[in-house]
Symmetry: C2
Subunit: 676 residues, 2 copies
């Protein structure tokens, strides 16, 4: 069926979507999933695996040392040889009998003849000590002398104690002593120790083989998408790439299967085969109780369904079970990318670790305060992705998108805050525990921005990485940024709030909302605001006055956004009631989101910056140049942490790059407007 969009363009369901419709929607549909607490879900799985004998560490395989880096020992390793294997000289010098050196001084030195039986015999570092010797004098402490009659001698000016400069046999490892325990992950120096005590191979646990089976008729590979483009309704399959990469990192051996269409028999047969050749089977997508959700039925048919629906968010529709033939555990992994990746962390990693004889990986934890109120439904443990920074004395966590489909919320996440199922959420400023994805030391070099987002911040972020700083930006709108500064949640806030009374930017808002906080107001740049419209401007929009037209659909920005403030100001000047603007209630949070709404044909126009229109090849009706400033509390302005940022703003490189972007003016980049 071909549809016509409101803006006149046409699109149709891809044939994939059509095929889906034809296979029927009501096969075995369950409407409601269980809501099993996570620990109970694990209990069921472990019990099932214990009773079938598959909840045990995997056996060892003997590998040459240079293939064993990162592998886990299957058994303790005892030294086969001592190291050193003999009493060895620790220096280049002469092996002597310490008794022969007693009494040597500067004023009455001693001379010892050089010979294989002593009293002095040359040894290099690492050479064995002759049996008659019990000390070594380093060569720098000897004088080499040739006598016509006496031959070669050394002269020494001090005696040496017994066992000087000798590495005794077994100083490092003694044959039979325990060198490494079992269930130990091998580092480079460990491999060296194993070789040093005589082992050319080591027994390490075999790696778990994990099958990753993506299912879904609407799925296409990224190669297809990159080559042929995406038809509406096509979804790029990448969950299997994420899962396979996770599995490799955790020490398993993944097999990525090709996409299997929504065909019950085909999926079932793929699962059946995979369960025979693998230790764990992951079936991706189709684990919610929707029309193409076959996984739970397949598990029931091939084995035992243990769990369908866990009280976690995202990731609720997880399926856990076992396939009878070889007692292979099977997990139905939800299709949303964040749900999928978190299912990997929550279920797959501990399984792999257990099979490798390791305790599950623990993320470093840090206490922080949450920057925004978080409502979280009771009944499910929620995994909230957050950024983390140290602002003043406080460690602050700012939540990222909660959407289960927003993979970038995991890309940008510094960590996870878990909100337990008996909690309804947390208030802004409350203490939380963050499980970190990054090293705690990275937090200390993170500059935290909360405020109005601009793509110049992305460019700044790139340059800052080269100066050893991370830049974490939360988009909260201009006013949201000022509020964050007031709470002490950020180092700086981007803001472009117009004061209608004065025509000045930001100053009056700072005075009103941050009266007691000394700040520096620095201009970042100026940028064009205007109306973003479809290419060719089919509705013939000329200016804000057209927003009152019945046939013009607008998309707004959220309350507190500088762009919205600009709109409201001008609507009032024009005498237009917000209620008369179609779509005034529809809010987007970024310039790009506004542009996307216009591009999709869902709306006709929105106020935004030129760069956003340009990015999506939309037309742009310029309106006004506005100033985008950075509001920086004095205490952070003076800090070491932010110095590289100011160096960049004052320097030539950032300026040059921003100048090339449409709608930006860097004339006043770095100017201090005022210090309040």
């Amino acid at each position: 069926m071909v549809y016509t969009r409101a803006n006149g363009s046409r699109w149709s369901y891809s044939e994939n979507v059509i095929r889906k419709k034809e296979t029927g929607m009501s096969r075995n549909r369950k409407f409601y999933l269980e809501d099993i607490p996570l620990d109970e879900a694990w209990r069921r799985l472990i019990m099932a695996m214990e009773s079938s004998g598959s909840w045990v560490a995997f056996p060892g395989e003997e590998l040459p040392l240079d293939e064993a880096l990162g592998r886990v020992t299957a058994a303790p390793v005892w030294a086969a040889l001592s190291s050193p294997g003999y009493h060895a000289s620790a220096m280049d010098g002469y092996a002597v009998r310490s008794a022969d050196t007693i009494g040597a001084t500067e004023t009455s030195p001693k001379r010892l003849r050089i010979g294989p039986e002593g009293p002095a015999s040359y040894v290099d570092t690492g050479d064995p000590i002759p049996s008659w010797a019990d000390a070594v004098i380093q060569i720098e402490h000897t004088q080499h002398i040739e006598e016509e009659v006496g031959g070669e001698l050394i002269e020494i000016q001090a005696g040496v104690a017994p066992w000087t400069a000798i590495r005794p046999m077994g100083e490092d490892m003694v044959a039979t002593e325990l060198v490494l325990p079992a269930n130990y992950r091998l580092k480079p120096v460990d491999l060296g120790a194993l070789a040093g005590c005589g082992h050319a191979t080591v027994s390490v646990r075999r790696r778990p083989r994990v099958a990753v089976i993506p299912t879904g008729t609407e799925l296409v590979t990224v190669e297809q998408a990159a080559q042929a483009g995406l038809k509406t309704g096509d979804i790029i399959e990448y969950n299997s790439l994420v899962l396979a990469s996770q599995i490799r990192e955790w020490g398993g051996l993944p097999t990525r299967y090709p996409i299997v269409a929504d065909d019950y028999e085909r999926i079932r047969e793929t699962v059946r085969e995979a369960a025979v050749t693998h230790d764990l089977v992951l079936v991706n997508a189709g684990s919610s109780a929707g029309s193409e959700d076959f996984t739970s039925s397949i598990v029931e048919e091939l084995g035992t369904l243990l769990v369908h629906g866990v009280a976690i968010r995202p990731g609720h529709p997880v399926v856990l079970g076992t396939v009878t033939e070889r007692h292979t555990p099977i997990i139905g992994v939800p299709g949303y990318p964040v749900s999928c990746a978190l299912t990997g962390e929550i279920f797959v990693e501990p399984l792999i670790s257990h099979w490798l004889g390791l305790t599950p990986r623990e993320k470093p934890k840090v206490k922080a305060t949450i920057s925004r109120k978080l409502l979280s439904p009771m009944g499910e443990d929620e995994w909230v992705r957050v950024t983390v920074g140290r602002v003043g004395e406080r460690t602050v966590a700012a939540p990222l998108s909660r959407g289960a489909g927003v993979i970038t919320s995991l890309v940008r996440a510094d960590g996870i805050v878990r909100i337990p199922r008996f909690s309804e959420g947390v208030d802004a400023g409350q203490d939380v525990t963050v499980e970190l994805y990054r090293d705690p030391s990275e937090i200390d070099r993170t500059i935290v921005h909360i405020g109005s987002h601009d793509l110049c911040l992305d460019i700044l972020s790139q340059y800052l990485a080269d100066s050893g700083r991370r830049f974490s930006s939360s988009n909260a709108g201009s006013l949201g940024g000022l509020m964050a500064l007031r709470r002490g949640d950020a180092h700086l806030a981007g803001s472009h709030l117009l004061d209608p009374a004065t025509g000045e930017y930001n100053i009056s808002y700072i005075k009103q909302y941050l009266p007691n906080l000394p700040v520096v107001l620095m201009t970042f740049m100026q940028r064009e605001q205007g109306l973003i419209v479809a290419p060719g401007n089919p509705k013939g929009i000329k200016g804000l006055a057209d927003l009152a037209r019945d046939d013009v659909r607008y998309v707004n920005r959220q309350r507190g956004a500088g762009t919205r403030v600009l709109l409201d100001y001008h609507l009032e000047k024009l005498g237009i009631e917000p209620g008369n603007v179609k779509g005034y209630q529809r809010e987007e949070y970024t310039h790009l989101a506004v542009a996307v709404a216009v591009q999709s044909g869902a709306v006709d126009c929105g106020l935004g910056i030129a760069a956003a229109a340009h990015a999506l090849r939309l037309d742009f009706i310029p309106f006004e140049k506005e100033r985008y400033d950075l509001v920086i509390p004095r205490i952070h302005y003076d800090s070491d942490l932010l110095q590289p940022l100011f160096d960049l703003i004052q320097g030539p490189n950032l300026r040059r790059v921003v100048d090339e972007l449409p709608g930006y003016d860097t004339t006043h980049m770095g100017d201090i407007v005022i210090e309040l």
Copy 2:
């Protein structure tokens, strides 16, 4: 030349050693190295590399995503496609016009006909929204109805707001926005994001190719040693394995060359070839100014010698230079295993990281107090390996062996304490900073033992790992253990100090040295002490009385060791003066070291435990059964941290394993002797 040992056995230099002697000892020998501070050494190297243009990040190569895990981006990546690429349904349900649903309630529901043009059209999660729709009602909130006349309808009992249950186009990524910056190491979710915005490949920095060339005529491979055994004078070559493994971990591509004998021309030609085909050349061993130390001369001949000798310890004799032909940097890596591995960390890792566009890896740092006084020569930065544990409120670092040849000091190390070159050392109890090799969370689950070592502690350690505890043991002798408890440096101390007056173990010492510390004294086991002698007991030693013989050489334990206390007690009973015991001054620190000394023929006997004699197949003259106890401060006895340890001591498994070892008696394992 064949030598006869004092004990009558014969050994000879391996032909390797003989060959070394024949190639001559005085080629170009420099006696003294420079002592360049580390930052100056780096400055010289960076300047030389900058002037030849090799101090830049490596260029990118385009790789498919599934080959790019862990690689570093060479350029920023912008989204090629939006994700979602269309307005998508977030649920299984019906796409509707929100306006059509206004006014629906429980008491006055609304009915909407199902059809492709609305007012209701079925959509699966992820399906595109029809152009006429602006919301989705999830299927669980609808009632499916069939009318004879009307066809299929849904009945709803509540209205929906616009954009409910819709994932807007670009919710995750918008085409053209920056998704990942350059110089960013790719994690699994990052690969997913790249695929999701339309990239099938990514440009990642090419990996540095590093040549690792081991040199030394005395070196043999571990395969040769494992197969044919080690001849005295042979040294197992494993530094190249450690370096190559480090290089792989840090993101480089190592080439391990076969061992090159001490032949100037051959080493030079190997270096020359390696410098053409690699980005960095590491020449191992032969960087001290000894007789076979060719590296600095080769660097001078093929290029520029920048540094020969850095003010670091271990690792002093490092060579830094460049080979002219392709300006390839070359490092002469010292031969001692610890020096070699630390040279890798100090010089090779930052080079590789720089070429990959990354900042050098930083270890997590933690503040601790040092458990022992450390003297450190001025003039060199010293890298002291330490174990770390949390004892009560304090984080305690205990130094490991300082020997540059003791690779196990790096295997066991929890971290490094750096003692700067302007410092002469640190006092016991002083604050130090530890750069950790492990995750800080591992410190919290480490049980710290300082005291008399017994191999049963190794067994305990293995079992504790299965209970999620790390067990760190420093060997300080029995009295050293009590002193450590007094300072609060350990959770428990192993002790077997005999009180001659009472014949009782440990109690009087506890009362004397720990009068104010409530402790629990628990028996671990009993073990045989006796005289360890060579197989066949060639000197016919019958008991301690024989120690007074002129022809019997003894090896003692260190002051404060329970074994030494036992010896002194019995010598006094026998009326033998310590001065009349040959070798009374020679001290070893463990039972195994005593056994090794006997095995090597350097001494005739030493007091020790049966297990140590048995381990090295030596004869044993039993003497006395002694009790080995654990002294545990009450506060740690009651802690969660130590519970698994006591569970193991009270349980059957540890007991059974220890019973099988020679000379051990577990009858009283776990008995509480007294609480003081």
